[in-house]
């Protein structure tokens, strides 16, 4: 396997991380049942299943960096909701650790946890989770009310958030009067009201119609360009994951089977399962020139192209007969060369032995 030209995720510090995280349902665990360090997680999972327990999350480890959009992708039952709830401590994991800003979140006392949630975390839910008895303004102001802010303070902040998500004029509406898209805007505004650093989104757009979903994804990216949150985003939709993610973790039956950029998953899938997922994705919109460029600078006179351009941008030139591109370093990508034949092979998913997949 040839190393990717894509630089490793930035030098940003780690915001939240988990290591060897296990969530187990079923009868209470006995003391002798614990995952041995360095042992195969599958062995421990077998031991659990043999005693009538269900490992919903097995040995999950990853780090999310500041300002990164980290997407956890998996089908229903893969454990993605369990994973995000372990990170927020809505449920407690049995084994492993979760660190927020380097501090052990699993050891946080109830009082500390409430303070962390009040100031550092925001969360958006698949089914919105709006308070049915509160109007839009009060729903958005709800976290601030819990903190004990005065009515004028919290309403001023809530109004800001409402205008941020474009719901001005609907402040007095009750949730059931709103469309699904509007309800989720309220959910987003509420989760941002406390100005958290860390933003959890649990399948935020899955309950919406496809057209609305696309629009909300665009707005979400737009918000993130302005706010620079650290984001953990859950979805079952690979297209959504590839559109939004800096990095994606693929979850299957409670285990993370691959973590990588969308291009990594596309070009170097860890196994057939991941490959099957990415088969439906159009590579030209996901891949950047730098993702598929080859090292070297010998092609003088070739057409020059910036490495952070989408591969799509090359197609017009290829159609008019260009055969070689000189890739210029841009953003996190280095320079190199790229032949039209290679572009077409990759788009046709006929990778030539020199490439991993």
């Amino acid at each position: 396997m040839r190393p990717s030209l894509a630089a490793k995720p930035g030098p940003q510090p780690v915001k939240i991380a988990c290591r060897n995280l296990w969530k187990i349902y079923g009868p209470p665990l006995k003391r002798d049942l614990a995952p041995g360090p360095g042992a195969d997680p599958e062995d421990f999972a077998q031991a659990l299943r043999a005693t009538g327990r269900i490992p919903a999350l097995m040995d999950a480890s990853f780090e999310v960096h500041e300002g990164e959009i980290f997407v956890i992708m998996g089908l229903s039952g893969s454990g993605k909701s369990t994973l995000i709830r372990c990170l927020t401590r809505l449920i407690d994991a049995e084994f492993g650790e979760v660190r927020l800003d380097g501090e052990d979140l699993m050891a946080a006392k109830p009082r500390d946890l409430i303070n962390i949630r009040r100031h550092k975390m925001g969360m958006v839910f698949q089914n919105f989770g709006l308070m049915p008895h509160l109007n839009v303004l009060d729903n958005v102001a709800y976290p601030l009310k819990l903190q004990g802010l005065t009515r004028s303070e919290r309403e001023a902040r809530a109004r800001q958030m409402i205008s941020l998500v474009g719901l001005e004029g609907r402040e007095d509406a009750l949730p059931h009067r709103l469309s699904g898209g509007q309800q989720q805007r309220v959910g987003i505004a509420r989760s941002l009201a406390v100005e958290p650093d860390l933003w959890f989104l649990d399948e935020p757009f899955s309950a919406l119609d496809p057209m609305i979903r696309r629009q909300m994804q665009d707005e979400f990216l737009d918000l993130q360009r302005r706010l620079h949150k650290t984001i953990v985003f859950i979805t079952h939709d690979i297209a959504e994951a590839c559109r939004l993610a800096d990095r994606i973790a693929i979850l299957r039956d409670g285990r993370i089977i691959q973590i990588g950029t969308p291009a990594d998953l596309l070009l170097r899938p860890a196994d057939d399962y991941v490959a099957k997922f990415t088969a439906d994705i159009s590579p030209s919109s996901i891949l950047r020139v730098g993702d598929i460029a080859e090292p070297g600078q010998d092609t003088t006179g070739a057409r020059e192209v910036a490495a952070d351009q989408p591969v799509e941008a090359l197609l017009a030139d290829i159609a008019t007969g260009t055969t070689e591109f000189s890739v210029l370093p841009a953003g996190k990508y280095g320079g190199g060369t790229l032949s039209a034949a290679r572009v077409l092979r990759i788009l046709a998913r006929q990778n030539d032995g020199t490439d991993g997949a």
Partner: protein, 673 residues
Amino acid sequence: MMSRLRLSGTALWSLALFVCLALVLLAPLLPWIAAFPRDLQLPLADWANLVLNPVFSTLQPLGRGFASGIDIPLRWLRDFLLFVPWPAFAFLLFLVALRMAGPGFAVFAMVTQIYIVAVGYWPQTMNTFAIVLLSLPPAILIGFALGAAGHRWPRLEGPLTALLDLMQTFPAFAYLIPLLIVFGFGPAAGMIASVIFAIPPMARNTIVGLREVPVVTLEAAVMSGATPTQLFWTAKLPAAARQLLVGVNQTTMASLSMVIIVAIIGGFNDIGWEVLSAMRSAELGRSLLAGVVIVALAVTLDRITRALATGSPNGVQLLPDRALAAVLGVVLCLAVVLRLALPGLDLLPPGVGFATAKALDAQLLDFVRWSDPVFSALRDALNYGVILPLRIGFAASASPMVWGFTLQPWMIAVYCIAIAGTALLLFRRPAWALLALFAGLVCYTGLAQFPWPCVVIIALLGAAQVRGLGLVAVVLIATLMILLSGMWQPFVQSLYLTAIAVSICVVIGGMIGIAAAENDRVSRIVRPISDTLQTLPQFVFLIPALMLFRVGEFTALIAIVLYAIVPPIRYVEHGLRGVPGHLTEAAVQMGANRWQLLRDVKLPLAGPAIRLGINQTIMYAISMLVIAALVGTRDLGQQVYVALGNANSGLGFVSGLSIALLAIIADRMLRKS
């Protein structure tokens, strides 16, 4: 696995059948089988008295003090309600009704107020209303607290549910006895009984409401940084509000029902007492007039409190709610000031009611005399054809006294062949065949003569099969208590009265329910009627039954049926209409006709709802037993009633507990987990 279990069940039941048959045949030879030996009976009621009476007399000073304490606000409230001139009250009610349930209901409320004044029952109505009003806050608060505790500590929920079951099924007359001893005759005892009876619906709805708050709402609140206390008050409680208000509605109706019932102790000049005393002196007109007042009161309270829970979709909002409250306050103050200025101004027309009642009485008597042949014929037909045979059995019914001929051996042979033939026809469904054989056996001897060990065996086996050892223990304790206390005969009377009433209700109510599910026009007619029947205090159902059929067991049966027929109607319709459209569409597409659709698709799918309906019917019927005892039965209800008359706490306790256990066992057997 499944089939083996069923097979062993069949084998077990077959064995039980043979044992029962043997016992029936042996009964004439062994008297202890026919009747539980008297020597073995224990004076349980006296023992209960020995324990209970000292406790009650110790509590007495405390209770009496408490009663006089309650008496003060109650008297104030009654005096105040009577002090406000009735037109002002009626106007206030009109405004509230308009806001809560729309113009149609507002007019209804207004008209009923005028009616109440016209028939001369205004003071009695206000007295009843005052007791209900005063018993509501404690019932709601205690119910809410119990429910919240049951939700907070899930381990409490089991015992709590058992306690609530007991509070709702233990006949009020039975716990009225100790209340009377401790708190003395007076409204306080009635009020406390009403509170006890009205707590369970609030507690149950609180538990359900809090439990059914969506998880995502709670997660959202937790992630917003809610402390456990904030989580309860700002997320759970508001999200459960609708269900809590349903609880308030049900609690209000339960309270009213009980206030009417406890009128039996007399002495607070309320509307329930009016009906009761009219019935006792056979003044049909007066009891009808007063009964209508109760109906009006019940419907009004129900519609207003129900609108709280449904968010009054039909209500007309003329003014913002605060302005409306201000208007109500001002009108009330004006009325009070006016009355203070003119003390004689009660505006109640004197003596109207009495004359109306007399006139109505005469007309009703005429009607009853004129219609008597029809109703007598109906009563006799059912009496001789169904009730007596079920009680004394085919063997005794086929006598010159009852059916006009003597029992010949060939008749018994024909009977046996018919039963055996039915069972053979059903051989593919062993459970049904066994049921037919058991029914044949019971109908031969009659329930009253059916050997008690057989009843015990059947009950224990049923309990073991449906629910396991826990229920077996309850059945064992209940049967032992009933046998030892010598209440077997009254118990069997209760059993067969309930069985007949429930059968009638399920057949007739089920048919009405099917008709309502299949036909929208029928549904539109039936629904408001069953809604109304459901809100009425149990007491009211005695009035028409008594009018048409006079005192007797049959009248009691009719009253029970009238009260308990609503659940099958509702649940059958609800269940049938709840069958998913795509399933009926699929069946129609495959060529099912209407009858096939009903039999093969809708009824099986509506099964759970229908079973719940039958369960409710049994509960309703059993709770009506004690009330029906007022018009003459010989069952456990009568025992409770007798105990009340003699202030015999022990007898009340034992017979009341028997009824409660009967209800709880029936409930557990039907409510498969």
